[in-house]
Amino acid sequence: MTSMMAGNTTTQRPADATTTGAAVEIDDVAVRFRTKKKDVTALTDVSLRIEPGEFVSIVGASGCGKSTLLKLVSGLLRPSSGQVRLHGEDVRGPRRDIGYVFQRAALLDWRTARRNILLQAEIRRIPKAQARERADELIAMTGLTGFEDAYPNELSGGMQQRVALCRALLHRPPVLLMDEPFGALDALTREQMNIELRRIWRETGTTVLLVTHSIAEAVYLANRVVVMTPRPGTVAELIDVDLPAERDYGQTMSEPAFARATGRIRDLLGATTTAE
């Protein structure tokens, strides 16, 4: 709520600002899971509006409902109450106009890296030649060249995650949902992937929702960062990142705006975790 700390933070936007044209609209959503032992409220009072072409990062403590939020947007999960809209349409079931990178790579053991990527094309019935060309392009871009024919068990965790990223990008989705895609990567590769992702996003104009545990990654990549409270998860604060569109990695890290945003997020996460 406090926006005095830094000029680049805003409180949650009013939900009634729903004019048409938003890529993602989440309206007063709550999610309760019923398990045998107890009911878990994963999310309450979540409202969020994401414009087309925005890059939004989501940070929060483990178990606060970040993955749940992405599953809502993709239609894999129905909210217990409230509404989710994608491009103005109510989300009622699984949406195929998205690309999803799961928290675990979720690769098929019996397919090579390339054929895992091409699964997307096979199921969507994208013409073979076109799909192959696109896959090669993505393989080169993510530095997987030379490992196209390796099986998942022959790839490192980071490589597996890159295969999953290629698969999610193959059909050029208008909305990309990423659940800790770089969690398994070493620091250096992660940096490179961040730079790549930023470039891909700038070139394609895709709307991106990225869940991450890295505050630096969240700020470097995004226009806005959603900070969530611990369970039951809700939006603690939306932070506008006041950085130029053209972001050199090293330079960005030393910008005052970067330090302000990361500092604020750290404060919020620290405050919320000690409060529990």
């Binding site: 999803y100 098929l108 053991d109 019996w110 997307q120 199921i123 030379g146 024919d149 099986y151």
Partner: protein, 292 residues
């Protein structure tokens, strides 16, 4: 060790890895078979050892020959009556393979239906269990009464024996799929057919093959049990006859061929698995490294 060579080393490591990956794919069928056979020499050696022990025991006259005939005596019987054995082996093999094939089709199909319909699963499972716990030897006579003296009752018993492990393993396999994989296919807009053929079924294959290997040996047992109850041909009949005549060399010959039949079928399934699931964990030894 010099600084300049460090990038060199990196390059070489990269190309070596790339090379390894690239070179493994076009491995010829011949090479794969060779590798498979190579893996078989140990059990084969054990088999030879058992034969040698058998031979030693009988050669030293430790046991009366009418109780345990020597290997050479047993082989003699097989060779001198090769036509007789060939015919009866063929009969049992036929019943076994047909029973096994029917069990695969019926087993896999019922497993798929059970996985997709909890209602069917709940109503069918107790029935399956019931069919499984009934001793086959006890109901085999009933099949002879119903189906006559021909091959059909033997095939039915073989099916009954082989069916259960196949259903159980396929159900387990189809259910073992990572829910996130199913969610992924949903975001791709996959229909139920695509999800089944591209994701669920292939994922179940390691379990299915485990069941098939058990089922293959069960099918042989089933066919022989069927023959015990009432037959005038087949290896079960041969053994029963030999037993009646106290003809131990003939008995041993029958047993030998029967176990060989089971082993051959088992190895056949394993060979198919080897080619269908080259990616599977059971095929993976610790990753082999090569020197640069």
């Amino acid at each position: 060790m010099a600084a300049q060579s460090s990038t060199d080393l990196l390059e070489r490591t990269k190309s070596a890895q790339g090379g390894a990956v690239a070179a493994r794919r076009p491995a010829s069928v011949g090479a794969s078979v060779a590798r498979f056979v190579q893996g078989m020499w140990r059990p084969f050696a054990v088999l030879v050892a058992i034969f040698v022990a058998w031979w030693a025991v009988t050669a030293a006259n430790l046991i009366e020959p009418y109780l345990v005939p020597s290997p050479s005596r047993t082989l003699d019987v097989i060779l001198s009556q090769s036509g007789y054995f060939a015919h009866n082996t063929w009969i049992t093999a036929y019943e076994t393979i047909l029973g096994f094939a029917i069990a695969i089709v019926v087993g896999v199909v019922s497993a798929v239906v059970m996985v997709y319909s909890p209602t069917v699963e709940k109503s069918l499972y107790p029935l399956l269990l019931f069919a499984q716990v009934i001793p086959k030897i006890a109901i085999a006579p009933l099949f002879v009464v119903w189906l006559g003296f021909g091959l059909t009752p033997k095939i039915v018993v073989a099916v009954l024996m082989a069916f259960f492990p196949i259903v159980i393993s396929t159900v387990t396999g189809l259910k073992s799929i990572d829910p996130e994989m199913l969610q992924l296919s949903a975001t791709m807009g996959a229909g139920p057919g695509q999800t089944f053929w591209k994701i669920r079924f292939p994922a179940s294959l390691p379990h299915l093959f485990a069941g098939l290997k058990v089922a293959a040996t069960m099918a042989v047992t089933g066919a022989v049990v069927g023959e015990f109850v009432g037959a005038n041909e087949g290896l079960g009949y041969v053994i029963l006859q030999a037993n009646g005549n106290l003809d131990t060399p003939m008995l041993f010959a029958g047993l030998l061929i029967m176990s060989l039949l089971g082993v051959v079928l088992f190895v056949l399934v394993e060979l198919i698995e080897y080619f269908v699931l080259p990616w599977h964990a059971s095929r993976r030894t610790d990753a082999a490294t090569t020197s640069l």
